[in-house]
């Protein structure tokens, strides 16, 4: 079991309110990703759930009972830290076994569990090494191993992959997703990475200055953002925003169109512009286009786009892919 419910959770450091009022319900076995700009309180919220920080108010209900006043070890959660936080002078085996040893589990049982975890994580050959004799990816696996042997109700990850290089990150991402399927455990995962958030999450929680801005599946957030903030945060490259006269035509303060939802033509279209920059990624080309209607817009063109900087070009947004926002930045539903 592993349901976690946050009820009116607040956190202040001195006079500074970091989390004004957070409400969230996480179902058993769900993979939830926290995203948001730097400093918005993702780590703080995760640490509140872990018990590494005390709440200033509210309840953290784990499996039906309030755990807000329990010490971290009593909450039955495991955390994987960004810097791995392995014990440097202990072997991999002892690192993984340490939590069980502290819990007073008998030796043979510990050994069996460590062996099983090592097998799951491909660490069997490294059990007698010290952490500093391992690569970054292997260290991260040890940190995960340390988390899984305790059979926690839920796993908490705070940017676990941000110290790894790009290729390893992709691999570890898949391994964590695989692990989630195998264990079926609840996981809460903090990340900066758009791709991690979109691909791993059952549900994404977007945080903005400590407030839960929107919660939903990755595609819900992508297709129906509730606010300008979410629209701008989810998706890469960022959604284009245009306000003023053009937005008025759509009865909105601001309209937003994603770079992948604009068609290009060298002869005719809705908006006229000039290519300022072109980024060639191979599979796609990102064009940065100066337009009269809304300044510089980003457009994704499939494949290698043959026009370079300086070329005149027309843009046409896909009609049913235009997002409309009112003056408070809230989405206006039933897009025109």
């Amino acid at each position: 079991m592993g349901t976690i419910v946050l009820k009116d959770v607040q956190k202040r450091f001195g006079d500074v309110t970091i989390i004004p009022n957070a409400n969230l319900a996480i179902k058993n076995g769900e993979f939830v990703v926290f995203v948001g700009p730097s400093g918005c309180g993702k780590s703080t919220l995760l640490r509140l759930i872990a018990g590494l920080e005390d709440v200033s108010g509210g309840e953290i209900i784990i499996d039906g009972s309030d755990a807000a006043q329990l010490p971290p070890a009593k909450r039955g959660l495991s955390m994987v830290f960004q810097s791995y936080a392995l014990y440097p002078h202990m072997s991999v085996r002892n690192n993984i076994a340490f939590g069980l040893k502290m819990a007073g589990m008998p030796k043979p049982e510990i050994e069996a569990k460590v062996a099983k975890a090592a097998q799951t994580l491909n660490l069997t050959d490294y059990l007698d090494r010290k952490p500093r004799q391992l690569s970054g990816g292997q260290r991260q696996r040890v940190a995960i191993g340390r988390a899984i042997v305790r059979q926690p109700k839920a796993f908490l990850f705070d940017e676990p992959l941000s110290n790894l290089d790009a290729a390893l990150r992709v691999q570890m991402r898949l391994e964590i997703m695989q692990l989630h399927q195998t264990l079926g455990a609840t996981m809460i995962y903090v990340t900066h990475d758009q791709v991690e958030a979109m691909t791993m999450a059952d549900r994404i929680v977007v945080l903005n200055k400590g407030n839960v801005e929107q919660v939903g599946s990755p595609l819900e957030l992508y297709n129906n953002p509730d606010s300008l903030f979410v629209a701008g945060f989810i998706g890469s490259p960022k959604m284009n925003f245009v306000s003023g006269e053009v937005a008025g035509q759509y009865q909105a303060q601001t309209i937003g169109v994603r770079p992948e939802h604009i068609a290009l033509s060298s002869q005719s279209g809705a908006w006229e512009g000039t290519i300022a920059l072109a980024e060639h990624l191979g599979a796609d080309t990102f064009l940065h286009i100066d337009t009269k209607v809304g300044g510089r817009l980003t457009v994704r063109a499939a494949g290698e786009y043959d026009q370079g900087p300086g070329a005149k070009i027309w843009l046409t947004p896909e009609k049913n892919r235009i997002h409309r926002f009112d003056q408070n930045g809230r989405a206006i539903k039933n897009a025109a």
């Binding site: 872990a50 590494l52 010490p71 971290p72 070890a73 009593k74 959660l77 495991s78 955390m79 830290f81 960004q82 810097s83 936080a85 392995l86 014990y87 440097p88 002078h89 202990m90 340490f98 939590g99 502290m102 819990a103 340390r146």
Partner: protein, 287 residues
């Protein structure tokens, strides 16, 4: 070519200082060795004669030598034990958020800056004096017989004074080490539900292994040389260590040959200690 030339130039450039340092070391050492092979008494000048290893024979068979060696070792081990155990406890305490932490830290460090002679005088006259000392007053005020430290427990008294001087050093080094313990590691231990004693034993102590070896090395070098505290308190008879014995031979018995032999013995002993220490530290610093 260029690199060979620069290498030669480099050697030439450092040569003068290396030569000076070498002479600085070798001349006194050679002279001491030379004196140690002579019958050389200041009361009988002009009658020096070459006696081979007779001085060593006398020095090493003198009961005072074994007493001094024993005192040297007892002093070193006792002060090391006090300063490392006490230093660890103090460092753990100072790492906590106690009130007036900065002032307390400053006070704890202070004894290290007091000259050994001054500290010995202060201890002798203000604390351990059997009539006017603070300890005597405390004993008397609870109705007990005051202890005459330097007569009854001379070595213990010296150990207390020296430990008082070296405890701050160990505390300072160990405190910095404790503060460099990774914050996330502490939190990981918290998540693992580690009770305080286990936390100290499994996480803090291994982290302190290196700084403790460094403290042992540095303190041992200085503790083998303790002299001022013994000289100033006049405990050289019962509590004299090797340096004191060498002083006694040379300047109280006027036996320069015997003192030189004692000096060389002390050098050899110090090198044996250094050999083991360096090996131990080498292992610890690798780990």
């Amino acid at each position: 070519m260029a690199t060979q030339q620069t290498r030669l130039l480099g050697k030439l450039a450092v040569a003068p200082s290396v030569i000076v340092l070498f002479l600085w070391m070798i001349v006194p050492l050679a002279l001491t060795i030379w004196f140690s092979l002579l019958r050389y008494n200041l009361l009988d000048p002009g009658n020096e004669s070459f006696v081979w290893f007779l001085n060593y024979e006398y020095f090493l068979t003198d009961p005072a030598f074994f007493a001094a060696l024993g005192n040297s070792l007892k002093l070193v081990f006792a002060v090391l034990a006090i300063s490392i155990i006490g230093g660890t406890l103090l460092a753990l305490l100072l790492d906590q958020a106690i009130v007036g932490r900065n002032i307390v830290r400053l006070m704890v460090i202070a004894p290290f800056f007091v000259m050994p002679t001054v500290s010995a005088l202060v201890w002798k006259n203000m604390f351990m004096h059997p009539v006017s000392g603070l300890f005597a007053w405390l004993m008397k005020s609870v109705g007990l017989e005051p202890v005459d430290w330097f007569a009854q427990y001379p070595l213990t008294a010296v150990i207390i004074m020296v430990a008082w001087q070296w405890l701050p050093f160990a505390t300072l080094i160990l405190l910095t080490a404790i503060q460099s313990l990774d914050e996330e590691q502490k939190e990981a231990a918290e998540m693992d539900g580690t009770p305080p004693l286990s936390y100290f034993y499994y996480i803090v102590l291994p982290h302190l292994a290196r700084p403790i070896t460094v403290v042992i090395l540095i303190e041992t070098i200085f503790l083998l040389n303790v002299f001022a505290e013994i000289y100033v308190t006049g405990t050289g008879g019962p509590a004299g260590n090797l340096p004191y014995l060498v002083y006694f031979q040379g300047l109280l018995n006027f036996d320069v040959g015997g003192a030189s032999a004692g000096g060389i013995v002390a050098v050899v002993l110090a090198n044996i200690v250094a050999f083991f220490l360096i090996r131990m530290i080498g292992r610890n610093l690798e780990g």
